[in-house]
């Protein structure tokens, strides 16, 4: 198991050190300027150690925001307290911030004011089946927000042929619900739709794509996995506040929102002509936002002239790229940029890596075609019904990393 945990700053100075055993051997992850290192001497579960380090980062971020040297120094007592709680003799324990925040507080002296019931409620929550939610949460307005966030990843050959494309999506939920609500989430998963039968055949014919094939999905620990495995239904009691309900991956019938057509011509040894066309490929009524096309330039670029039809384009010497930004763009449109890049003659043998042109955007639909069909809420003890819950659903499609 984990023998000890250290937090270092970029100079290698120890900020936090908590030793559980007399062990050596390293795992580390880096967050901005901070290194988290776990050490061990045994044949530990490596995946678990890394997962734990990420979790540790999440917990710290939930307590004091950004993980920086300053914040860690400011909160070192708290961090020791957390480490004592979430890692015992190197075994990770309950690390859900929702539960931790009930008894590890920066005040620290809460214990005197707690009644016996409160104490046992804390312990049963920390060790219990629903470790991520405490009882007795009350909201005047029961509300929930669902964000379907998708990123489109595309691999294209130099000849412009799509080698592989996949969407990795996340369903992020923000729940502000009273009590211990039982939720059931439904989407247009092909397997579920087909199982539900042929009765809704007319629905399928209305628009082309009614259901999508999900290659794989993973769930937050609140989701009952055995139920998903047997019935493919997603049921859970959500943590309070924001959490990632599920992640999924699809590879079939992906709507690629944009097409980028580059044209590069080398004119002699000191000049490069670049032309890039982007075409939007979705319903004209929808608007894509925050479009940014990044065209890398060689290291020996001396000057760039750019002309673009839409938006703003600029050569950023420090980033070795031409950055073209378009605020909004409707569907089924086309736009173009052309640039002349002047190069310094160089005898540098090292080749230019020719990084790919990258593009960022946000579109208000899910490129995979995923749709939320329902999110039912049942709270048997409190008297609010499924109809009283206000739901907000939002779809955002983004470019991949």
């Amino acid at each position: 198991m984990i023998g000890g945990l250290f937090i270092y700053n970029h100079k290698g100075e120890v900020l936090i050190s908590r030793v559980y055993r007399d062990d050596i051997g390293f795992f580390h992850v880096k967050r901005s300027n901070i290194w988290l290192a776990a050490v061990t001497k045994q044949n530990v579960n490596a995946a678990m150690v890394f997962e734990f380090l990420y979790k540790m980062c999440d917990v710290m971020a939930a307590y004091f925001g950004k993980i920086s040297e300053e914040n860690i120094k400011n909160n070192f007592v708290l961090i020791y307290e957390l480490l004592d709680e979430i890692l015992d003799f190197g075994y990770p324990q309950n690390s859900e911030t929702g539960a931790l925040k009930t008894f590890i507080t920066q005040q620290g002296i809460k214990s005197q004011h707690q009644t016996k019931e409160e104490q046992s409620q804390i312990t049963s929550q920390v060790t219990g089946q629903i470790g991520w939610r405490r009882e007795g949460i009350k909201y005047r307005r029961n509300e929930l927000f669902l964000d379907v966030l998708e990123s489109v990843n595309l691999l294209m050959s130099p000849q412009g042929q799509v080698l592989s494309a996949h969407v990795s999506g996340r369903v992020v939920m923000k729940s502000y619900l009273s009590g211990m609500p039982e939720c059931k989430f439904g989407m247009n998963d092909k397997i579920v739709i087909e199982k539900q039968g042929k009765g809704t055949a007319d629905e399928t014919s209305k628009s082309g794509k009614q259901s999508i094939a999900i290659d794989d999905c993973t769930f937050h620990q609140c989701v009952r996995l055995s139920k998903f495995d047997s019935e493919r239904s997603i049921s859970f009691i959500p943590p309070d506040g924001e959490f990632e309900l599920m992640r999924y991956r699809t590879t079939k019938d992906i709507i690629l929102p944009f097409r980028v057509i580059p044209l590069v011509r080398e004119v002699g040894r000191t000049k490069l002509e670049v032309k890039v066309v982007i075409k939007s490929n979705f319903k004209p009524s929808l608007l894509a936002q925050k479009i940014e096309v990044r065209i890398p330039t060689p290291l020996n670029t001396s000057g760039v002239q750019v002309i673009c039809m839409k938006g703003k384009a600029k050569y950023k010497a420090s980033e070795n790229a031409i950055v073209w930004e378009i605020k909004r763009m409707a569907g089924m449109k086309e736009s173009q940029i052309s640039a002349e890049i002047e190069l310094l003659p160089t005898n540098d043998k090292k080749k230019w890596a020719r990084p790919p042109i990258s593009m960022n955007f946000e579109v208000p639909f899910a490129p995979s075609g995923l749709k939320v069909r329902y999110l039912k809420v049942f709270e048997p003890k409190l008297n609010y019904s499924d109809h009283d819950v206000i739901r907000w659903v939002r779809y955002i499609g983004r470019s991949g990393i």
Binding site: V14, N43, Y54, F89, D215, T218, F219, L225, P356
Partner: protein
């Protein structure tokens, strides 16, 4: 609140000031002071001097202050063990606190204070906490048992904590179960034989229930523990798999990997014909692919594991090639690993796609990555039949003229030639054009090899090699060796034009080089060429074995072991834990379960992997005990004791001769070099050597034939597997014992199931009841190449040192090869010890029978033996059990028999045979009654076979 100020104080006299503050009356000031102390401790300053002052602050209602003091205690208690006792009272009191959080905190901290003296005070509070009403306290106490065990294992056992811990596995709270499992698993690792976890279908069921309810970390503990369980049959394996598969959808990739481990392991037991088996295969692929969208560090862990999985079960991911295509922004360690997996997945069906990708990679800028990509193309060529595409891709790459690309390409083309000889020589011309750009030893050596190998088709081969020869002494050893061989090859192919060249290289190698390898090789060639050029041609230009892609694979036995460690460090390093874990902890050998079939399934026994112990096969000797000490200390050379048998003396002679040969070789050296032509330096020695070698070889042959069971000797049992390959890094040993005209031998069959060649075999026995010892060294002359089997008969003597074993006929054996030393034990049948002069005189028999007290008599039944008395007698006689007298009483045949063991013990027997009744009654009398049972077993074996 900003605590960072505590880090800044570095002025002198600080300790003194802190001391004053710690003893202050004001609570706030105290707390501040403790924080400063902790901050100093964190940055590595020694604040142990403040121990008593800090401990004084422990008695407080303030939980935050208490926690800080505890933290300090954990750090410094070890350096101040006497003072640490001061804290004990507070701990004990806190363990009784009404607040469960404080009770848990106290027991948790106490366990972290690694001071022996404290542990005895810990026992009582811990016992209470293990039975606490609050689950939070119980789960903390469960881990505390593991802590205590780490400090004082004996104490934990004596206090019965292990049993309490076992009870916690049935606790109602899932987290308590998970922590108890984690603690027990860890404790069990240091007691490999204790069977602590004692998993059975009931407890497994409880674990599977807890699996659905506990935290993600708890799920990992439980899954890792499940993976060590051995289901009793394929049905149980399947039902566990069914309940584990939902975990594949967990967001925590460690949970997913641990679930994969359980599934991969238990799949071994499922029949491939089952529908469920193929369902499971399909279910495994998507989660593995999803792991690749995790953070880079986890991606790497996942990829290393996938690398193992595709080697074990390529069918799982065979359609997922594309997900392993590298991304522009992948970290380099992820890129390299993906590349490796791509090659493993390459097949006839996707080779075009793979090559197109690899060719792209070869034009990237990262040198390491490019090199690996070029190598990958070569590996694809060797793996996938029809290498045309790969070769043409490589030629395209050579055209880029990028130095390191060309060099890598040359190296892999050499390998391609070795796989497909005489097929792609057309590319040689292109290679020769790029000769000048090769500056790396490996590429130069590869190119030299190619030129030498295809010298007859390269017109200017001699010029090319001569070019290399100019800077001979500046080349690295591998190039020098290669150059030497290549020129000799050239000479043998074109003797007329290249005599000067070969003279030159031989003298460079033998005269001017101080590298012994090079010199030796030079001499060997020189002598070969001068003695018998025809033989030289046969040796140097011999047909070479083809290479195959298997050289890149992990050895099957290691792979199986690593599959048991999926998700752990071992799977990331691709090394067994024993290779990197210090000491004995965590190095219990794990192995995949054997494929079993439930009772009604009619799977043939051949499907059981060889080497898996079934029934009463011998176990490997556990790595403990004094006996082994003896074995370990023994020198594994030829035995010093015991009269050498003829075979060994022949061998000795051969060694002598060789030695003489070497001497003369050395003595002749100056002459040999000085000679203008191929003077034959060791003129006389060489043929003598050959003769001797032949001689010893032949005598071995005879040895072997005499060992193979001829009918006249004692009964010979069929060979049984003694040392399964899984336990001996790929070496499988099966064998049996024979007795033939007075000599005992051990007939061995050694099979190399590993991927590397095995050499340097030696054998040694531990002391045993009858002093059995090898009478000659284990003679395996040729190295044992992979998949090769060698049969050998090892003569045994009975004059070794004696020690009584339990059971009596137990023999512990150590076998050494170039890889390691392996231990196994086997039971030898007693009849190999029955000597030929075991027939007792009648009178003597009667007297002895009466003389031996009747409590030494043992009676046995031999059932289902449909032999007549005559047939039985005859059969027993051939195994040296002699019938002394015979009489017929009331229709029963009574045979009176005698036998003598090698150590002189006489055994007298009365065998009652009733015609028509297949059951014999055997009465044995002997002064050493403990042999009776084994003699009976010998009777039974002889009569029934």
């Amino acid at each position: 609140m900003t605590d960072s100020k505590y880090f800044t104080t570095t002025k002198k006299g600080e300790i003194f000031e802190l001391k004053a503050e710690l003893n202050s009356d004001k609570k706030e000031k105290k707390k501040e002071a403790v924080k400063k102390v902790i901050a100093s401790m964190t940055v590595g300053k020694d604040v142990s001097a403040l121990f008593p002052d800090v401990v004084n602050c422990m008695q407080t209602d303030n939980l935050e202050l208490k926690k800080l003091v505890y933290l300090y205690l954990m750090n410094y208690a070890k350096s101040q063990p006497d003072m640490a006792i001061m804290a004990v009272n507070t701990f004990v009191k806190d363990c009784e606190d009404p607040n469960p959080l404080i009770r848990a905190l106290a027991v948790r901290t106490m366990g972290c204070i690694r001071v022996d003296k404290i542990t005895e005070y810990l026992c009582e509070p811990l016992r209470k906490c293990l039975k606490d009403e609050d689950p939070y306290v119980r789960k903390t106490a469960a881990v505390c048992v593991a802590k205590l065990h780490d400090i004082n294992a004996q104490l934990v056992e004596d206090q019965g904590f292990l049993d309490t811990l076992k009870d916690l596995i049935s606790d109602s709270n899932p987290m308590v179960v998970a922590n108890a499992v984690a603690a027990l698993s860890e404790i069990a690792e240091s007691h490999p034989s204790s069977n602590l976890l004692d998993l059975n279908p009931q407890s497994i069921n409880k674990l599977l229930t807890a699996l659905n309810e506990c935290t993600e970390w708890g799920q990992i503990f439980i899954l890792d523990c499940l993976a060590d369980y051995a289901p009793k049959d394929d049905r149980e394996a399947q039902s566990i798999c069914e309940r584990v598969t939902p975990r594949l959808s967990h967001a925590n990739s460690a949970v997913v990997l641990s679930a994969v481990k359980v599934l991969m392991k238990f799949m071994e037991m499922l029949s491939k014909d089952l529908d469920y088996y193929s369902t499971l295969l399909k279910k495994l692929a998507p989660p593995l692919v999803t792991l690749l969208s995790a953070e880079p560090e986890l991606q790497y862990v996942a990829l290393r594991n996938i690398n193992l999985i595709v080697q074990k079960r390529p069918e799982i991911l065979k359609h997922e090639m594309k997900v392993f295509f590298v991304k522009y922004n992948d970290p380099i360690y992820v890129k390299l690993e993906k590349l490796d997996i791509m090659i493993r997945l390459a097949s006839q069906a996707n080779i075009a796609q793979v090559l197109a990708e690899l060719k792209e990679y070869a034009t990237e800028v990262d040198v390491d990555f490019v090199r690996k990509a070029v190598r990958a193309i070569g590996r694809c060529a060797i793996k996938v039949e029809s290498a045309e595409r790969c070769v043409s891709t490589l030629l395209d790459l050579i055209q880029t003229k990028v130095s390191y690309v060309v060099q890598e390409a040359v190296v892999v083309i050499k390998d391609i030639f070795r796989k497909y000889p005489n097929k792609y020589e057309s590319v040689i011309a292109t290679l020769c054009e790029n000769l000048d750009s090769l500056d790396e030893p490996e590429a130069r050596a590869a190119m030299t090899w190619i030129v030498g190998e295809y010298a007859e088709r390269i017109d200017n081969a001699d010029e090319l090699l001569e070019g290399f020869l100019e800077g001979f002494h500046d080349e690295s050893t591998q190039v020098q060796l290669q150059l030497l061989t290549a020129i000799v090859k050239l000479f043998l192919k074109k003797p007329t034009e290249t005599q000067g060249l070969v003279q030159q290289v031989l003298s460079l190698a033998t005269q001017d080089s101080d590298n012994p390898d090079l010199r030796d090789r030079g001499y060997i060639y020189w002598r070969l060429l001068s003695t018998d050029p025809v033989a030289a041609k046969e040796v140097v230009l011999a047909e070479k074995p083809l290479i195959s892609e298997e050289t890149d694979l992990i050895e099957p036995t290691l792979l199986d072991e690593l599959i048991c460690y999926i998700g752990t460090l071992a799977s990331v390093y691709h090394k067994p834990p024993s290779a990197f874990v210090e000491g004995g902890r965590g190095v219990v050998l794990k192995s995949l379960p054997p494929r079993t079939a439930s009772s009604e399934s009619t799977e043939s026994p051949e499907t059981t992997p060889a080497g898996v112990p079934t029934g009463e096969q011998p176990d490997a000797i556990p790595a403990q005990g004094d006996l082994l000490g003896d074995l370990l200390n023994l020198d594994l050379g030829p035995p010093a004791s015991g009269p050498p048998l003829p075979a060994s003396s022949v061998q000795m002679a051969a060694v002598d001769l060789l030695g003489g040969g070497l001497d003369s070789l050395m003595g002749d050296e100056p002459e040999g070099i000085g000679g203008p032509n191929f003077a034959a330096p060791p003129a006389a020695a060489a043929p003598a050597n050959v003769g001797a070698a032949m001689g010893s070889g032949l005598s071995d042959l005879f040895d072997l034939t005499s060992g193979v069971g001829t009918l006249s000797g004692s009964y010979v049992a069929p060979k049984a597997v003694w040392l399964p390959a899984m336990k001996a890094k790929g070496l499988e040993i099966s064998g049996t014992f024979t007795r033939q005209v007075g000599s005992i031998s051990m007939d061995l069959q050694l099979t190399n199931k590993a991927l590397q060649v095995m050499t340097d075999f030696a054998i040694q026995f531990n002391r045993n009841s009858f002093g059995l010892a090898p009478a000659a060294p284990l003679q395996i002359h040729a190295p044992l190449s992979p998949n090769q089997t060698v049969e050998i008969s090892l003569p045994l003597s009975t004059v070794g040192s004696v020690m009584k074993m339990e059971p009596l006929n137990n023999l512990q054996v150590a076998v050494k090869n170039n890889i390691d030393v392996f231990y196994f034990s086997t039971l030898y049948p007693l009849h190999i010890l029955f000597v030929e002069d075991g027939k007792m005189d009648r009178q003597m028999f009667l007297a002895t029978w009466k003389d031996i007290p009747s409590e030494n008599e043992a009676q046995f039944q031999i059932r289902d033996c449909p032999l007549s008395a005559d047939a039985a007698s005859g059969r027993l006689q051939s195994s040296n059990i002699f019938t002394v007298a015979r009489r017929n009483v009331e229709g029963q045949d009574m045979l009176y028999q005698s036998l003598k063991l090698t150590n002189g013990i006489w055994v007298l027997a009365e065998l009652r045979v009733q015609p028509g009744n297949p059951s014999f009654t055997l009465s044995l009398k002997c002064r050493a009654p403990e042999v009776s049972r084994h003699v009976y077993q010998a009777y039974e074996t002889i009569l029934k076979n």
